[in-house]
């Protein structure tokens, strides 16, 4: 093992090609994905539906075999049960035996981890209670809502007190309250020092959950790195709110928009919302003085993850090529 001991997960040029249909047509679900996850880190694995997230995760858990590349899980091959013992996995839209009760599902899982019955007896009700399932502990899963199943899934992923949590779309399919609860739970687990690898196709609510992201589109990485690095570059943009003078508004607007780099985002009455490169700020302020307008607010634009995502993913899917410069994918 040549890798650092604190690399708990490493994908090395991972690729997976499925063969479908009678003629064995190739579908490249994942192409050349490389990443590492260090102990205590939380990595968001993002991408639109069908971008290859679940396929990658199935490779990491040895449910399917990669067609190319290598995976190290705690320094071992994923087919090694001992390595998998340190992982808590939440499948996408988890399904369990619907004729079992939550306590029975967890008991079964506990046996697979070799937890003795005293530990199981103590830990299972505790976890179910912590996940708000105390009232449903002795009901069969068949009547459970999606949110409740998700919680059973999270409970079983925590049973063995794993070092690494691999969650596939933990927030999808939940109502807003459910999303908030699961998000808070994950934040809590992160504070407890769990390493996390989770996928999502929705971005708004995961920014706060991860240190780093890897964004996939059509099986390929389009952006990768620490969130702060990825989003910092876009701090080169600024946003300005300008109040126009009472007369000559059209002329004033024309003059302001003539400043190089300035774009109109929206206009509400006599107020303009402008977007401009930060180095065009002096030019804009000069023009504002010129036309007797007022600069109400000037702030640095921090691109949201969502915008970054749309910008890069859409880019790729419109012309079908990788257009992200190498420097951007750290």
């Amino acid at each position: 093992m040549t890798q650092q001991p604190d690399d708990i997960l490493a994908l090395d040029h991972l690729g997976k090609t499925f063969r479908v249909g009678f003629w064995g047509k190739k579908v490249q679900a994942v192409r050349d994905v490389s990443l590492t996850l260090k102990r205590g880190e939380s990595l968001g694995y993002l991408g639109p539906n069908g971008s290859g997230k679940t396929t990658s995760i199935k490779c990491i858990l040895s449910l399917i075999q990669p067609t190319s590349g290598k995976i190290r899980l705690f320094g071992a091959d994923p087919s090694d049960a001992t390595a998998r013992a340190r992982v808590g996995y939440l499948p996408e839209a988890p399904y369990f035996y619907d004729y079992l009760k939550p306590t029975e599902v967890l008991d079964y899982v506990g046996k697979l981890y070799g937890l003795d019955s005293a530990t199981r007896k103590k830990r299972i009700p505790y976890l179910l209670d912590r996940l708000g399932l105390a009232h449903a502990m002795d009901r069969e899963l068949r009547g459970f809502s999606k949110g409740m199943l998700q919680r059973v899934g999270i409970a079983q992923s925590l049973l063995s007190d794993p070092d690494l949590l691999i969650y596939d779309e933990p927030l999808s399919g939940l109502d807003p309250i459910g999303r908030k609860e699961v998000r808070e739970l994950m934040a809590e687990l992160r504070r407890e020092g769990k390493s996390m690898f989770f996928s999502s196709h929705v971005l708004t609510d995961i920014e706060t959950l991860c240190d780093a992201v890897c964004i996939l589109d059509r099986g390929e990485v389009v952006a990768q790195g620490r969130l702060s690095d990825l989003l910092r570059m876009d701090k080169l943009e600024s946003e300005a709110l300008v109040d126009l003078p009472t007369d000559g508004q059209d002329a004033a607007t024309t003059r302001l928009l003539a400043v190089a780099g300035v774009e109109l985002m929206e206009q509400t009455g006599a107020m303009l919302r402008l977007r401009l490169p930060t180095d065009a700020v002096p030019g804009l302020t000069a023009a504002v003085v010129d036309v007797h307008a007022t600069l109400r607010e000037l702030s640095q634009r921090r691109e949201s993850l969502e915008e970054l995502f749309v910008q890069r993913a859409v880019h790729v899917s419109t012309d079908g090529q990788r257009t992200v410069p190498a420097s951007r994918s750290a």
Binding site: A81, R84, A85, Y99, K111, L158, D161, L185
Partner: protein, 281 residues
Amino acid sequence: MSIQTTHKKLTLRIDGPLAALGRISAVAGNTLREAGRNKLFFGLLGVTILMLVFSILLSDLALADQKIRLVTDFGLAVIPLVCIATAVLLGAVLLYKEIDRKTLYAILPKPIRRGEFLLGKFLGLSVLLFGQLVVLTVCWAGVLYLRGGSFSLALAQALGLSYVEILLVTSAALFFSALSRPVLSGVLTMGVFLIGRITYVINDLMQATKGVFAEVPAMRALGRVLVALVPDLSTFNIADELQAGVALPPDYFVHATLYGLSWVGFFVALSLLVFERRDLV
């Protein structure tokens, strides 16, 4: 507010044969539990018990000295068949159901080897079929008693061999279900069973100097292949010998059991080989 209960590390017992046995029995237990909720299983069981009871009425039609014989024949033929039908029906969906309902995805990433999972499924179904055989045998023994007969050691031995046959068919079902979808795997398992039951006939026909096997060389080749590929299930059916009062040598049972278990081992090993590398998508 913390999620974890334990501040000291939990002990996971995952190494060694004992731990493996624990996992296999956990899977077997769950398989048994699932089958225990299967309506088809109980339906079949109920219908068979009714049929056994009905054989009392049927035997009234027979001549006095034939009454016991009719009930005996009926039980020896029907009980194994019902268990085998159950093995085919439940065996065909044994793995497919887990994949189709996606329950497998939550289980296999746990520290369990695929082979252990497969053995657990096989063991669970085998235990279930054993239970079914025992229940049916007890009912049948009751019917025999009502007809003035009694359950003998020879009958127990005959049903013991039937259980070996049942296990063999179950292992074939396991193999086909690791390989293909339910309908196909059910059909293939039935094929093995039906051909297995008549291989001795095929054999006899090939020895004969007349008939299609003697006259058409292609049929002869086909016959040879079938006989070689499919276990000879007549080994496990000693009802005729029992009725004829032919005493079988004591080592017949040992040999027959070993023959059956080798086939079971062969099918289970093949299933492991197939399942181990299969993409579970």
